[in-house]
Amino acid sequence: MELLIKNGAVFDPKNGIKGDKTDISIKDGKIVSNVSSKATVIDAGGRLVMAGGVDAHSHIAGAKVNVGRMMRPEDTRSGISPRTKITRPCTGYTVPNVYAMGYRYAQMGYTTVFEAAQAIMKARHTHEELEEIPIIDKGALTLFGSNWPTMDFVREKNMDKLAAYVAWGLLASRGFGVKCVNPGGGEMWGFGKNVTGIDDVVPVFDVTPKEIIVSLMKVNEMLGLPHSVHLHCNNLGNPGNYKTTLASMELANQVKASKDRQVMHVTHLLFNSWGGTNWGDFESKADEVANYLNNHDNVTGDMGQMIFGSATTMTADGPKQYANAKLLHAKWSNGDVELEDASGVVPIYYVKQISVHAIMWAIGLELALLTKDPYKMLLTTDHPNGGPFVNYSEVIALLMSNKKRQEEIKTVHEAVHAKNKLPGLDRELDFSEIAIMTRAGTAKVLGLLDTKGHLGVGADADISIYDIKPDQIDPSVEHAKIKSAFSNAAYTIKGGQVVVKDGQITATPLGRTYWVDAKVPEEHHTEMMKDIVKKFKNYYSIQLANYMVQDEYVTHPQVIKTGAIPVEVN
């Protein structure tokens, strides 16, 4: 199967292409240097062409997403569309069903999405859902930050065993990377408590969040994992937490990267860049956080942009979610996972005229505008915490148009003038910068830049064409057109197949699931397993033999092999 995209205005930052008319040749799902005359031709007609979108942090599958659906039938009934000859029925806005997840991402021109958190013990569930999300490639980050084995090995300062545990945990969960959520806090939530910063000691386990973060970064690099540690900081969602965030970021200096990427990715920074001491003096510290990123190359972040309206907060940060539910008088689900982590789900409605919400909204945009290098600040809404991913086009339009921002600022609570820098920021991102925040940068942060996020030869043939002619549009003024175009791709091509045309789904192939098979020396594995066997015998409620995700749950795997020991060739 050959395909040729002609006359596209291509933005491919990795390969230095900035709107040039470049033909793209596709064969057998990959981008190649040329194709035969038999290739099907798509005439882009001068329209915007980018690599398929890549999302490094979105809650699309697994236990807590399904809890969100179960507790929110009022959300499910919005966004309902019946089945068609090609598609299954779609439901939901903040917590869509699996089919809507795949279709809606594809309709926006996205082709790769990573689920941001799975507990190992519930990973089978995550994969059951991932297997039913059509079209997109996907993967899931595995939680390690409050796992008993993690804390035991950190306390013992035994990095070999910790590395072996992380490798085994990734295999057990068919996970792609190391997620660390409110490290230590998950365990303390087991008795209804929390840590308040990175230096608190977790009782009984006798470790601090700082030690957990540093140790996980070390073993992440020992194992040479494609992605870095993916950190949800302690103290998330509390006024004044930017200090914890900065202190956490500084920990990155203690570890050297094993490859050309950050050693720490701090996620949904919107929720971690807060000043003040309470809701009364709450203010933005996005400038401090952005400033840190501007001066350091070993940490990256993503926005977690907030969207006004309905959202469903869901996170492994159990104590935060209880606090949220109490604050909002909202319904609350909690999901402790024995020996591993916690989670919580709480619906929220972000209101323009609530000062805290308005300030939060502005923080997300400030982070993107104040961080100079877009490779360091990815576009996310922490779906569906900040808002549903279908609103990425709104965020893109806001970032590309100061005019749109100023129009919006007029409609939100006046607090943004005193508490945020946003009203004075006139930076407008260009198509290349947007392509980085949604493609090249995300792929680089994930460690997938060889095949994802660009349009060079050898890349996956994941391509989006948007109905904008970059040389004929002024995004600053015509932001409505920008938003409309990025909402519904003219074409989305996934693995060389046209899956969306004019915003409509045309095919629903099943994408691949990325996971990492990291090798460690056999003796480290054996030593580590002695501890694991004990934990199963005494503390887990299931048998070790029934713990690991079986091959049946990952039918289209894309395995990335890494290891602490050199991998022999042939």
């Binding site: 659906r69 179960m70 039938p73 499910t76 029925p89 087991g190 539910a325 402790d336 024995e338 048998q543």
Partner: protein, 432 residues
């Protein structure tokens, strides 16, 4: 002889995964670690051996081929204007997926056995969410354990031993001795007999009692009368003190709450109590789910349709509203004009009026066993037993997903095969 270790039990929502099964010549000859319920199911019973059909429900069945039975099943569903596809709890998630697809294609209502069990709990979750935990969390931490309207000694025989009462855990090294066990029920059950404290509530008064506990907990004991639901105020105040004194408390509730007056509002109220207790100490609440994979149907149906059960596909898009779209709602209104009952026994577990309507309409049954639904069926398609002869996914009562083992080779087709063939045939009838 083959010995299968760490096998999973396909009976109740505990899904115990530590069974040892001995197989000789494709027959299970011994089981270790299973309770009476699990052993009875796994050791096996009389099975339906071949597909059967009859036009008149008062006449005897005639054996037919699978092809004939599947064709007839497809015809019935294809012709129906208001089909109901009910059951699913004794089947694996792989079966649920095929069932939901078929329901979509024929515009059916799909509902599962939770409708007469814990569907009200889901309605309560819509109102208040569900602060819960995996069972190991309770085993390791819980020092106060409450069973409210549930009777694990009968319904979940290994629950107390494996997870909640006698089990020893990391922070609960002493097992039973380290835990305070409270049973709230309308009668002194065997579970109550094993408790440290039995709180006897008047039938139907659970809602009032929970409200009283919430009032006391929130510092408003003054508005609580001297006796609520047959329990003295003094005992209620003491109970609140006991609950508050926990380091990690857990409440397990059963059909005593879901089926009594106030229905799901009992659970709604109990969830609020738990949420409010979290202001003092850690608390979780968990439904004692019945069938081993009734939880799984809710999971699959939620991620595929957005709704946990009682989904009406009449208009091609999911619509959900128990009270309107649940199995008994449409049967009692005599709206259903054809039914498929699979892996659940509506004939035995629905009220008489619902079964009367089933007796009036074409019914297709897919099940390994002859049961009360067989008596009102026109087409009966026997299948292999999920979790014994078929491997696949089940969700334990706490939402932990597990892979059930195949213990012996099946001699009959699986549910998945039968549903796939019916779906293919329906497509043919539609001219696709």
């Amino acid at each position: 002889m083959t010995v299968i270790t760490d096998a999973l039990c396909p009976f109740c929502g505990c899904v115990c995964d530590d069974l040892t099964i001995v197989v000789e010549n494709n027959k299970i000859t011994d089981i270790k670690n299973a309770c009476k319920l699990g052993a009875a199911k796994i050791m096996g019973h009389h099975r339906i051996e071949a597909p059967m059909m009859r036009a008149d429900k008062k006449s005897d069945f005639k054996e037919v081929s699978y092809e004939e039975a599947i064709n007839e099943a497809a015809q019935i569903l294809f012709k129906s204007k208001r089909p109901l596809m009910f059951g699913w709890a004794s089947a694996l998630c792989e079966v649920h997926k095929k069932g939901i697809l078929l329901a979509e294609e024929v515009g059916a209502i799909i509902d599962n056995t939770a409708t007469v069990c814990h569907a009200p709990s889901t309605l309560a979750v819509h109102e208040k969410g569900l602060p819960t935990a995996t069972l190991g969390q309770i085993k390791n931490r819980s020092d106060v354990v409450v069973f409210w309207g549930s009777n694990p000694v009968h319904a979940h025989p290994r629950h107390m031993g494996r997870y909640s009462v006698f089990a020893k855990g990391f922070f609960q090294e002493k097992g039973r001795k380290g835990r305070k066990v409270i049973v709230v029920d309308v009668r002194k059950t065997e579970t109550a007999g094993m408790a440290d404290e039995f709180v006897q509530v008047q039938q139907g008064s659970d809602y009032l009692v929970i409200s009283a506990l919430r009032a006391i907990l929130s510092g408003h004991a003054d508005v609580v009368p001297e006796s609520v639901g047959g329990i003295s105020k003094e005992q209620l105040v003491k109970l609140v003190d006991t609950l508050k004194a926990a380091k990690f408390g857990s409440i397990f509730f059963g059909m005593g709450l879901t089926q009594s007056i106030s229905r799901y509002k009992n659970i709604d109220n109990a969830i609020s109590l738990i949420t409010e207790l979290n202001a003092f100490t850690k608390y979780v609440i968990s439904p004692m789910r019945g069938h081993y994979n009734v939880t799984g149907f809710g999971q699959v149906c939620s991620w595929e349709t957005g709704f946990a059960t009682a989904v009406d596909f009449a208009r091609g898009a999911p619509y959900y509203n128990p009270g309107e779209t649940a199995a008994n709602d449409v049967l009692l209104r005599k709206e259903t004009d054809a039914a498929m009952i699979i892996a659940g026994d509506a004939g035995a577990h629905f009220p008489a009026d619902s079964v009367r309507h089933l007796a009036r309409i074409p019914v297709v049954q897919i099940d390994p066993y002859w049961n009360a639904t067989t008596e009102v069926s026109n087409v009966v398609i026997p299948v292999a037993i999920c979790g014994v002869e078929v491997e696949g996914t089940a969700y334990r009562m706490d939402g932990v997903s597990l892979r059930m083992r195949k213990m012996i080779e099946p001699t009959l087709p699986t549910d998945v095969e039968v549903l796939e063939r019916i779906t293919e045939r329906v497509r043919e009838l539609r001219g696709e």
